[in-house]
């Protein structure tokens, strides 16, 4: 389980995160929802050790973050993070070289599934194709957790469909997925848990299924209550 406890971060005299706490369990899809600037990406970066926090703690399976844990936790940022001059085949080789948890067979399957060419250069990929390859780099690891930052942001309809299909496939099964979005749209029926962020704090955290049964509200209904209040 990813356990985020009372994390704080100040940036340019502003409290970007002001005591954020939540958990993301293995086998569940947890979604961090919030308007732009709510601190969603900062939380993912803090979990991955890509930005220091001023207070609080982050534990993954009850362990503090250390380099070896990067084998267990894969990160898919909101943009592709491989050098533009690299070919897709070289990027895959890079991942295989550095990660013991890299699954080459799965990477090959995903290359076919997303219809990607090994010889294409990273710099020449369209935004949608880059998003697919970015997801491939995350899913290619046999990791317990997958962190995804705005996986649907700014990409075309067909790429969105291809990526959404991944969420209903066995590629995600058994993993703990923590993703961020500011447009819940096509994700609503896929997520198990929603964490709503506002002004650097968690304003609501709930199980989506329970919310539907007990209060008859969808995630979007709760978002309207929180953000329009």
């Amino acid at each position: 389980m990813i356990e985020v406890k009372d994390i704080r971060k100040r940036y340019r005299r502003r409290d970007v995160l002001n005591g954020v706490s939540f958990t993301a369990a293995k086998g569940e899809i947890t979604c961090l929802i919030g308007v732009n600037g709510a601190g969603k990406s900062t939380i993912l970066k803090a979990i991955m050790g890509l930005t220091p926090i001023s207070g609080g703690s982050i534990h993954i399976d009850e362990q503090s973050l250390r380099p070896q844990l990067y084998e267990k936790i894969a990160f898919v940022p909101d943009h592709l993070t491989m050098p533009s001059g690299m070919k897709l085949s070289e990027a895959i080789k890079f991942m295989a070289d550095f990660y013991d948890s890299w699954n080459n067979a799965r990477a090959r399957e995903l290359m076919q599934f997303f219809r990607l060419n090994y010889s294409d250069k990273i710099g020449s990929l369209s935004k949608g194709t880059a998003a697919k390859f970015n997801l491939l780099l995350g899913l290619g690891q046999d990791s317990d957790y997958l962190l995804m930052d705005e996986p649907f942001s700014g990409i075309d309809l067909f790429s969105r469909e291809a990526i959404a299909n991944v969420f209903t496939s066995d590629l995600i099964e058994g993993r703990g997925v923590l993703l961020t979005t500011h447009e819940i749209g096509e994700l609503e029926h896929l997520i198990d848990k929603a964490v709503l962020l506002q002004d650097g704090k968690v304003s609501r955290a709930f199980n989506c299924e329970e919310m539907r049964y007990e209060e008859g509200k969808s995630v979007i209904d709760v978002m309207r209550e929180v953000y329009r209040a």
Partner: protein
């Protein structure tokens, strides 16, 4: 260790073409300068030259040409490629870090989440950079016997005398600085250079960690380093000779080692704990 070597290989691989181009420029410039000087001199010897023009050249050209003479007469075209290489390498001290942050696909995200201690990234970058520097110096050393062979191929045996490559190096202003004759001096030059690179690495990491405020921290840090290494000379100058020359030398050496240790420790710590993307 294994991942350090992979990172080191990656850093070398990323700069390979630039290194090859720099070596190519150096070889092309130096070989063509040598050929041009020798053919010009041989032509002058074959053809009758008006007395007033020939006189000025004849003073520097000996009866029998030597490789040492050829080196001494090729200062500019030997210095130029060396200066180009030094400038590119000096810029690369910054680019080796900033290239991972700039552009549409910021590679630093990936590098920082590799399942290995972040110090390996730091060590890979510094060792790759040192390899480029020493690789270039070695290339220059390898080029010398090649230039000597070219010299022998161009100049007829009856018009040339043998000379040592070491003497040829000492006659060229650029080469004598690049490849000092005494090993102690070599260690001193390149040791100081390495410490300067490490201090700049730390300043870059301060900027990457604290951004705008980091620029100030970086400048202050570099100023502090300069002050630290100069402090023995500043405190105990020739007007206040409290220390023997050997003691002053030891004090400066200690300060260099101090700056080296602080720079490496702080650089690795910033990369592990404070860096932000």
């Amino acid at each position: 260790m294994n991942r350090y070597l992979k990172l080191f290989h990656m850093e070398v691989h990323r700069f390979r073409w630039m290194l090859a181009i720099l070596m190519g420029i150096t070889a092309a410039c130096q070989i063509s300068a040598l050929i041009w000087t020798l053919t010009k001199e041989l032509y002058r010897r074959r053809e009758p030259v008006p007395q007033d023009i020939g006189n000025t050249f004849q003073v520097s050209a000996p009866e029998q040409l030597t490789f040492e003479w050829a080196m001494a007469n090729n200062q500019l075209l030997f210095i130029l490629p060396i200066l180009i290489c030094i400038s590119v390498l000096a810029l690369y001290i910054f680019f080796i870090w900033y290239r991972d942050w700039i552009g549409r696909h910021t590679f630093i995200y990936r590098l920082l989440v590799l399942p290995t201690a972040r110090r390996n990234l730091y060590l890979a970058k510094i060792s790759a950079f040192l390899l480029f520097v020493f690789g270039f110096v070695s290339f220059q050393l390898v080029l010398m016997p090649i230039l000597n062979v070219i010299f022998k191929l161009i100049v007829p045996a009856d018009q040339r005398a043998d000379s040592h490559i070491v003497d040829a190096i000492s006659r060229n202003l650029a080469l004598v600085e690049l490849i000092p004759r005494q090993f102690e001096q070599f260690l001193y030059y390149y040791g100081m250079g390495t410490i300067a690179v490490l201090a700049i690495f730390t300043a870059i990491l301060l900027e990457r960690s604290y951004r705008r405020l980091g620029i100030l921290y970086g400048v202050l840090y570099l100023s502090g380093c300069v002050l630290a290494v100069m402090s023995p000379s500043l405190l105990f100058d020739s007007r206040h000779p409290y220390l023997y020359p050997n003691e002053l030398y030891a004090a400066e050496l200690i300060m260099f080692v101090f700056v080296l240790c602080i720079s490496v420790w702080l650089g690795i710590r910033l990369l592990a704990k404070k860096i932000t993307v």
